[in-house]
Structure formats: C-alpha cells, structure tokens
C-alpha cells in the first residue's frame, strides 16, 4: 500500500459527480426500508431479505463496484494522469494493491453500510441484515477486483462491466446452473445464507456455499494476477498516431 496513491485515488473517486448519484442510490435502499417500517405492514423478515437481495445485492453492489473499480486505474489511464504514478520508483504491485484496496473501501462504504442500516431499519431479523452486509463486502471486493482488471484489459471497461452485470448476472445467471456459478451476485447470496442460515421461506440462495467459495476465490485471484500482469506491461503512448 502507498498512502499517497491511496489519498489521490480516494479523492479522485469521491470527487466525481456520479459519486453523488451513488449516494442517492444508497439512500434509496435505506429510504425504502424506513418507509416499510413505518407503514402499517411493519417489520417483515421476508420483505427485508427481498429488499436487500434485489435492491442491495443485485443493483446497488454491482453499480457501485463498477464505477469505483473501473475508475480506480482506468480513469487515470484515460485522462493521462496515470503517468504521475507509473513513472515513479514504485512497484506496479503496490500500485495495483493500493488502487484495489481504495476501490473496495469506497464500494463497501457505499454498499455494505447502507445495506446494514436498511436491514436493521426494515426490521425482521438483525442477523440476516448483518449477514447481507458482510456478504456484500465480500461481493464488492470480488467485483472491484474484476472491474479493476477489466479496466486494464480494455478502455471500454465500463461498458463491458455494465454488460456483464445486466446481461450475465441479470439474465443468464438466472437461467442455468452453469452460468450461476460465475455470478458474483449468486456468490454473495450464498455467503449471506451461510452466514445467517435463515428460514427457507425468508431467504434461500440458489448456489451452494462450497461452490461459491471456490469459484469466488479462483476468480478473485485470477483478476488480481491479471491486473498486476497488465499493469506491469502497460504502455503509455506519447501521441496518437
């Protein structure tokens, strides 16, 4: 970790206007929880699980990680400021690790904390809320690793990442067992179930925990190694030819 790179990355990621949009999205999850709690229907564990899995894990988590993950290094490469970090006597491994940790930190802050608050406010099962928050932190980390690597593979990382989230996770992962195993969302839900062990009528993940741990581990390590390899060999052209 390098404190200077971390501070610059943090300010870069949080100074963007779209961060305000993400804050608004985070606030929506909490707001819906509050509205449900004060409504005549009151607290309900099933509603809380649905809210956190559909709005929190399926929507908020990938969008936040996509923006921070692709922005951590990719935006710097695109804008041309990366040269100030890469043309320094600092190992590329330190650069990748620092950027990744900052992206994960930002993502967890804007995903897991709102999920925890929303889960606790909506009521029903505090243990389930905590499980969703912890699992979303793991899911955010995995997403960030994938998106950081993606931003070093293609300059259109945001588009590809959005495609993955919408098409693969939003559509294909629900259709087949095979595609499900390569879905970060399904991994996260499997972690949630393993952590909270809720009643099946409240919440049930489609993927078993062993598969989720193995696949998530392999994907995470692969993404980090890929990011490091790409950044070690990355070139910064002087002029457009």
């Amino acid at each position: 970790m390098n404190a200077v790179i971390a501070r610059i990355t943090l300010r870069q990621l949080l100074s963007r206007r779209r961060t305000l949009l993400l804050l608004a999205l985070s606030a929506v999850v909490v707001l819906v929880a509050i509205l449900r709690r004060v409504s005549p229907a009151g607290a309900d564990a099933k509603f809380t699980a649905d809210l956190l899995s559909n709005l929190g894990i399926a929507t908020l988590m990938p969008l936040v990680a996509l923006i921070f993950g692709t922005g951590a290094i990719g935006a710097e490469l695109e804008e041309g400021t990366a040269v100030y970090i890469l043309a320094k006597p600092i190992s590329r491994w330190v650069v990748v690790a620092t950027k990744l940790v900052v992206a994960i930190g930002c993502s967890v802050t804007l995903t897991s904390i709102p999920i925890l608050i929303a889960g606790l406010l909506a009521g029903g099962d505090a243990r389930l809320a905590i499980a969703f928050a912890v699992a979303s932190a793991i899911g955010s980390a995995l997403y960030c690793a994938i998106f950081v690597a993606l931003s070093l593979v293609t300059s259109r990382a945001f588009i590809w990442g959005l495609g993955y989230v919408l098409v693969w996770e939003g559509f294909l992962a629900g259709l087949f067992t095979g595609t499900r195993t390569l879905s970060v969302r399904e991994h996260t839900l499997a972690f949630t179930q393993a952590l909270a062990n809720p009643a099946p009528d409240v919440f049930k993940a489609d993927l078993d925990i062993t598969t989720a741990i193995v696949v998530a581990g392999v994907v995470g390590v692969f993404a980090v190694v890929l990011a490091l390899r790409r950044l070690s060999r990355i070139e910064i052209a002087g002029e457009v030819v």
């Binding site: 100030y84 002087g238 030819v241």
Partner: protein, 323 residues
C-alpha cells in the same frame, strides 16, 4: 556527436568512443503501432547538456520521449538509462524526471499538494522541503494553495516541470515544456534548464518551434516521420536550414525586366517566368528579401507582391531529409 545530413538511413551515426554507459542510449530503436511506424531505426546517445528534439507535429517526438522514459517498450532495438533497460524497471525513475505533453493533472490537488505528492512518490526523505524548493524555483509560491483546476495553462505547465524536477533527477525529459507559458516564464524556464545542464544533468526536450530549441539547446536531434534526420551541434544544423534554397513568387509591373535584374545577384540561383508569375530561387533567404526591392527600384519596376512559397517547418525539415 557528429552532424549527419542526408538520407535518413545514414543519419543516425554518433561518434564512437564515449563512456560505455551514457545517461541515455538508443540503439536501432523502432516502435510501431499495428502497421503504423512511429519511430524507425533510431540510434543516438545523450550526454550531459541540453538537447533539443525538434520535429513537426506527429513526427514521433513524444513516442521517442516515452520510449526513453520507459513508458513504451521498443518494438525493436534497445533503450537504456545509465546502461539499464528503460522499460519494465521502476527504479529508473529515480534518475528520470518527466514532463508529459498531455495537460492532464489532478484538478483537485493544489499546486503544493501535487508537487509534494511527486516528492513523496519518489521516496524523498524530506518531501515538504523539496516541494517548497521546486515551487519557489518555478515561481508558484503565491498560487501553491490553489487547486490545479484553477491554474492557467502556463501555470499548470510550470507545476508539471516543478513536479518532474522535485527529486533533482540526473535526466530530465520534457515534452513540449514551453507550451502555454508566457514569454517571461519561458525565458525563466529556459535559463533554469541551462543552469541544470551546466550542473551536469542530461536534458532532452521536444519542440516543434525552432527558436525555442535555438535558445536553449547545445545539440539537436531532428526527427521527421519517425526517423532521425539530423543530429549534432545546433548551430551547424541551423546553418543547413538557413542555407537551403528558398523559392519566392513575385508579382510586379514588369516581371521580365525584374528577372533579368535579379539574375545579377550571386545568391539568386535561378528565375522562371511562368504564366505571368515570376518565380525566383535564392540561396540566402535574408539577402534576397533585402535585395528584391532595391533591384525593382533599379529596374524601374513596381513590386506588387513578394511571397516565399513554402517556409513551413515541415518544408525546412523535409529539405534536411532530402539532403
């Protein structure tokens, strides 16, 4: 260095016998992007002093600088910094300071934060003092606590130079460093580069403006279409550029009589009369410009227009390539 002037293939010679590990050495370096060749078989070595990298836009100057800065890998050949390969070794950046051409900086950082961040990333023991010194050198003390987003282009350029210089590197690479600077800042920065060179540092800066190079550089590398067209002492190359044939088109009340008069001048190498237009070729641009009005007066001819046909930098460079 020796002056080379002629066919591109024969222009990349340097004198033999220098110390084995020059601060910067390129040997048969080419760099291509797909089928576009940006740099083509370039060899030279840089010694302490200021070297100007001169060439028209798109000639490959920035690509060369980025190759030397280790930000690009050569497709062929080798680039070394003090004997070590430039690409793939972050430790070379202890020796190098780089001012990129792109204007992008972190807009949210103040000038002081930006320079200090560079000092910290270089691992300096006292980054605060180093930043303060660099900021003062480039006259940014007053603006140091303002965000870079509010800086003018010239101020941003100076902040970039201060950041590149903050760790007192032995080699300074500057890509179009005077862009956006006002004349006073330009002169100040030029004087500073001269001072650094006198202290034994190796400085390479790119420019497409001949006068900038003339003011600062002892030596010059002329790059055209990715090839090294000429290299060596600036003044000798400048002479080559000045002494090349120049073509003027002249419109007057009596082109034929003026042509006869002009042919009497030794620096006029030829005249043609074509479709009511007098085209004169002269070996000396200045002498012709001064003489043409006098000859017209002597011949009792009224001059309507005297135009140099092509004085663009590209044409000057292409003359050097053609030889």
């Amino acid at each position: 260095m020796t002056i080379e002037h002629g066919s591109p293939a024969a222009t990349t010679k340097v004198e033999a016998g220098e110390a084995p590990a020059a601060p910067v050495e390129l040997t048969g370096v080419s760099r291509w992007y797909g089928n576009v060749v940006a740099v083509n078989e370039v060899s030279f070595r840089l010694e302490p002093g200021v070297t100007g990298l001169l060439g028209p836009n798109g000639a490959g100057k920035s690509t060369l600088l980025h190759l030397i800065a280790g930000l690009l890998a050569p497709s062929a050949g080798s680039v070394t910094i003090a004997g070590r390969p430039a690409f793939g070794d972050p430790n070379v950046y202890r020796e190098i300071g780089l001012v990129p051409e792109r204007e992008a900086v972190y807009p949210f950082l103040t000038g002081r934060e930006f320079v200090e961040a560079n000092a910290k990333l270089q691992g300096l023991p006292d980054p605060g003092s180093a930043a303060k010194r660099a900021i003062a050198t480039f006259e940014l003390t007053e603006a140091q606590d303002r965000p870079l987003a509010g800086y003018s282009k010239g101020m941003r350029q100076r902040a970039k130079v201060a950041a590149a210089f903050v760790h007192d590197p032995r080699i300074l690479l500057l890509d179009e460093p005077f862009n956006g600077m006002d004349p006073r800042q330009r002169i100040h920065t030029m004087a500073f580069l001269r001072k650094l060179a006198e202290e034994g540092r190796t400085i390479l800066f790119s420019s497409h403006i001949l006068e900038e190079v003339e003011r600062v550089a002892d030596r010059v590398l002329v790059v055209i279409a990715g090839r090294l067209a000429a290299s060596g002492d600036f003044h000798a190359i400048r002479r080559l550029m000045t002494d090349r044939p120049h073509t003027f088109t002249v419109r007057s009340s009596n082109d034929r009589r003026l042509a006869t008069q002009l042919l009497g001048d030794p620096f006029v190498t030829g005249v043609t009369l074509d479709d009511g237009l007098l085209v004169a070729r002269a070996a000396d641009y200045g002498a012709f410009s001064r003489a043409v009005a006098a000859r017209a007066r002597e011949a009792d001819v009224t001059l309507y227009e005297v135009l140099p046909t092509d004085e663009s930098l590209e044409s000057v460079f292409s003359y050097l390539v053609r030889g």
